[in-house]
């Protein structure tokens, strides 16, 4: 009896603390979602408090919208490549920095100078996306003034009269952007994986080494399984980043809110913003927002489920 009352009291106590944050969360996060959902059934222009209810018109228009479908495809492409490439590179570097060094008598350690490398690899993470866009805008600049073009021209690989218009090439533009995201992300995930690797007891590695395991075997049989939780989390985060991409695309590529040339770098967020702010089709944009939300939720659920494994305790 007293036990129950006790726990009831504690529940109330805890709830007392949670009411305010919960109310804030409901008002400022959940309520806008519900509003958006509502607006997606209207022809709201985004610049006026008046609008009409149009039912599912926005959603059926969305199905036929080639630009949006193209953008969705680009997002899916990025969804495959951004997490895979970033995680593979960061894992490789993290392993080299923590366990890739000469296996001398001192046991397991990283390559020489690994402490310094860790700091340097982290640099890109410090820069904001807006700065990245400017920085890589200068790298990809389409005349001789661009870093890449200038470099290639000096080497005699590119004709100065016909420099490569990196971000104006339908076949290059998405990969150019992918490179920026990977460059930006590797440092952070490297540090994340390093931290996870350092928490793996050294004696596990030593045991593996004593048993005659090579570097590759150590990585696949020991390191990766023990790091699986971190890899899984990273995949979700990177997947979400790949579903976004708004800042880079809108500032680096041509067109209103980017997406150029001719929709070849379009992502859902840029199509959404163009319809929302430029074409005055806010109701339609809200429908896109709802689709993005649903896709992102599905993505997170799938990633977490597909990568579920048994925990290894150590």
């Amino acid at each position: 009896m007293s036990h129950v009352a006790n726990s009831k009291g504690r529940g109330g106590f805890i709830a007392g603390f949670l009411i305010l944050p919960l109310a804030l969360y409901l008002t400022f996060v959940i309520w806008p979602y519900i509003q958006t959902f509502g607006y997606s059934f209207t022809n709201w222009t985004g610049q006026s408090p008046t609008f009409d209810f149009v039912g599912l018109d926005n959603y059926s228009a969305l199905l036929k919208d080639e630009v949006f479908r193209g953008a969705l495809l680009h997002n899916l492409l990025l969804l495959v490549f951004v997490p895979t490439v970033t995680i593979l590179i960061s894992l490789f570097f993290a392993f080299m920095l923590n366990a890739g060094g000469r296996s001398g008598a001192g046991g397991v350690k990283g390559v020489a100078g690994s402490a310094l490398y860790k700091v340097i690899y982290f640099f890109p993470q410090v820069l904001s996306l807006a700065i990245l866009a400017v920085l890589f805008g200068a790298v990809y600049r389409s005349d001789e003034g661009g870093l890449l073009n200038g470099f290639l021209t000096k080497l005699g690989l590119v004709d100065p009269a016909h420099p490569i218009e990196w971000l104006n090439q339908p076949n290059f533009v998405l990969w150019c952007l992918l490179l920026v995201v990977v460059w930006h992300g590797v440092g952070f995930y490297l540090v994340l994986f390093s931290a996870a690797m350092q928490s793996v007891p050294k004696d596990i590695y030593e045991a593996a080494l004593l048993d005659g395991a090579g570097r590759a075997q150590t990585f696949f049989k020991v390191t990766l399984p023990l790091l699986w939780d971190s890899v899984q989390t990273s995949a979700v985060y990177l997947g979400i980043a790949a579903m976004d991409m708004f800042v880079l695309v809108s500032t680096m590529t041509s067109g209103q809110f980017g997406g150029g040339p001719d929709h070849h770098s379009e992502v859902m967020a840029t199509v959404l913003m163009r319809n929302f702010l430029y074409f005055g089709k806010a109701g339609y944009a809200c429908a896109m927002g709802v689709v993005m939300l649903v896709l992102t939720l599905i993505l997170s659920a799938i990633t977490l489920r597909a990568t579920r494994r048994e925990h290894v305790e150590f």
């Binding site: 400022f28 996060v29 985004g46 006026s48 967020a269 993005m292």
Partner: protein, 483 residues
């Protein structure tokens, strides 16, 4: 941001707070899903209509809108190439005359600053709705957010009360402020569009400004031989190259060809030999490799700066170019305006230019001090205020002879004035980009592909006509007609 103090802390204050809070929590990682910030951006303010305080001041000839003495005036201006000193000077003059307290906000982020206020029903009294982030006029009209400014046109002019304001304006001003069949925007800055070149460079090379298309191509060839580009354009923003294409169409086919496009006619581009010839002419520049290297991927400032450094003979732009490039232009550059050269057999003469009014000033329908806003626009069309603008912003206004002759203009602006005089009545101006944002964007995409040599002129025509046909479905298409 003085303007926030001018309006209440009701729904609007909450609107700001909500966005800030979401931004902050996103930074904290509370919101990991990126869609959230977009979704919450979609949330509008509540649907409340704050009724403007209807003035009870008697309407007189001196005070045609019934402005109440005292009170507040909320002004928002775009701070672009013209700066905002002129607006501060105007507000001071207005406050002195009417005893008002003006709040001044100058920004480049018109949309993000004003959208919550339009949605919340408490917009400012006067807005200079310009720049890359302007709120599109067609969008505002669709939402019934703009005051019909015809009353300003019919009010007596401040300089000469026997005249109406409408009789003191440059030709095309009223036309360019019409959206959805209403006069909703006072386009205040008089602009000409066309090609620009360096008088100094041309003198050095012994080139004369071309009047026909073959002459133009000849100079481009000579420029290439001299190791520089013929034409530079602002490739990242294909708006600019469309000026060249559309000007060629209008000059070759006459005003009817232009109106056919604005009126969304089924043969505006398709089966129109004039349009095809114009696009082919532009494509010839690409085909003969006469573009400035890399220009297709450059922003407006990058390509204009290259042009300022003598890397290309010509560039397309409007007359704001000189102001925009003030810092990058060498002292002795001698910037000169050139009307678009004509194709053989053109209906309009070489002197004809695209000229019109830009920089739209609007008075929101739900402005708290609507009378003040209207009076502000009327004052802008006085010689005193117009001269203030010409001095501070080095640009012409839509007021006829609105600049005191003692004001000295820069070389580029002066050359534009000369070209305008030579053009006389031969001016034209497109409206489709203001009327149909989506169509404008699709034409720009097509031109981007054309300049990159990825599509041929025939394909451009096909895409352009498809964009026109799509625009006919716009609900405003029945109101946006010109003759």
């Amino acid at each position: 941001m003085g303007s926030t103090s001018a309006h209440g802390e009701n729904s609007n204050g909450e609107g700001f707070g909500r966005r800030d809070l979401i931004k902050r929590s996103a930074a904290l990682g509370l919101i990991a899903v990126p869609t959230m910030s977009f979704l919450s951006a979609c949330a509008s303010g509540s649907d409340e209509t704050t009724k403007g305080n209807e003035s009870k001041v008697a309407v007189t000839k001196e005070n045609p809108f019934g402005v109440a003495k005292g009170g507040k005036l909320d002004v928002v201006v775009f701070k672009g190439g013209y700066g905002d000193d002129y607006a501060k000077a105007w507000e001071a003059a207005f406050d002195k005359k009417w005893g008002t307290t003006s709040s001044h906000l100058s920004t480049q982020e018109i949309t993000s600053k004003l959208q919550p206020r339009f949605n919340g029903g408490n917009p400012p009294d006067v807005v200079d709705d310009s720049g890359a982030q302007q709120i599109k006029l067609d969008v505002l009209v669709k939402g019934d957010q703009l005051t019909d400014l015809t009353v300003v046109l019919d009010a007596p002019s401040l300089d000469d009360p026997s005249k109406k304001v409408r009789d003191t304006l440059m030709p095309g001003t009223i036309e360019s402020g019409m959206v959805g069949g209403k006069f909703v925007a006072l386009q205040y800055v008089y602009t000409v569009w066309g090609l620009w070149y360096s008088g100094k460079l041309f003198k050095e090379k012994g080139w004369t400004a071309p009047k026909t298309w073959p002459e133009f191509m000849d100079i481009c060839q000579k420029a290439k031989a001299a190791g520089i580009g013929g034409l530079a354009h602002q490739g990242k923003y294909p708006y600019y190259i469309n000026v060249a294409i559309m000007d060629l169409i209008a000059k070759k086919g006459g005003l009817d060809a232009m109106k056919a496009i604005d009126n969304l006619e089924p043969n505006a581009f398709a089966d129109n030999p004039v349009a095809l010839e114009a696009v082919e002419a532009i494509y010839e520049i690409v085909e003969k490799d006469l573009l400035m290297p890399g220009t297709n991927g450059l922003t407006h400032t990058e390509s204009q700066t290259q042009w300022n450094q003598g890397k290309a003979a010509f560039i397309t732009s409007g007359s704001w170019l000189e102001n925009e490039q003030l810092k990058q232009t060498p002292e002795d550059f001698d910037m000169q305006f050139l009307p678009m050269p004509v194709l053989p057999g053109s209906k309009l003469p070489f002197e004809a230019i695209r000229a019109g009014a830009g920089e739209p000033f609007i008075v929101p329908e739900k402005a708290a001090n609507k009378a003040g806003g209207l009076e502000f626009l009327r004052s802008m069309l006085s010689r005193e205020w117009s001269t203030l603008f010409a001095q501070q912003a080095n640009s012409l206004t839509v007021l006829k002879d609105g600049v005191d002759p003692t004001v000295k203009l820069r070389a580029g602006t002066q050359s534009a004035v000369t070209a305008l005089k030579a053009a006389g009545d031969n001016t034209f101006n497109y409206r489709y980009a203001d009327w149909y944002s989506e169509m404008g964007t699709e034409l720009e995409n097509a031109s981007n592909e054309l300049m990159a040599k990825r599509i041929q002129p025939k394909e451009w025509i096909k895409r352009a006509q498809a964009a026109v046909d799509k625009a006919t479905k716009d609900p405003n298409a029945k109101n946006n007609k010109r003759s």
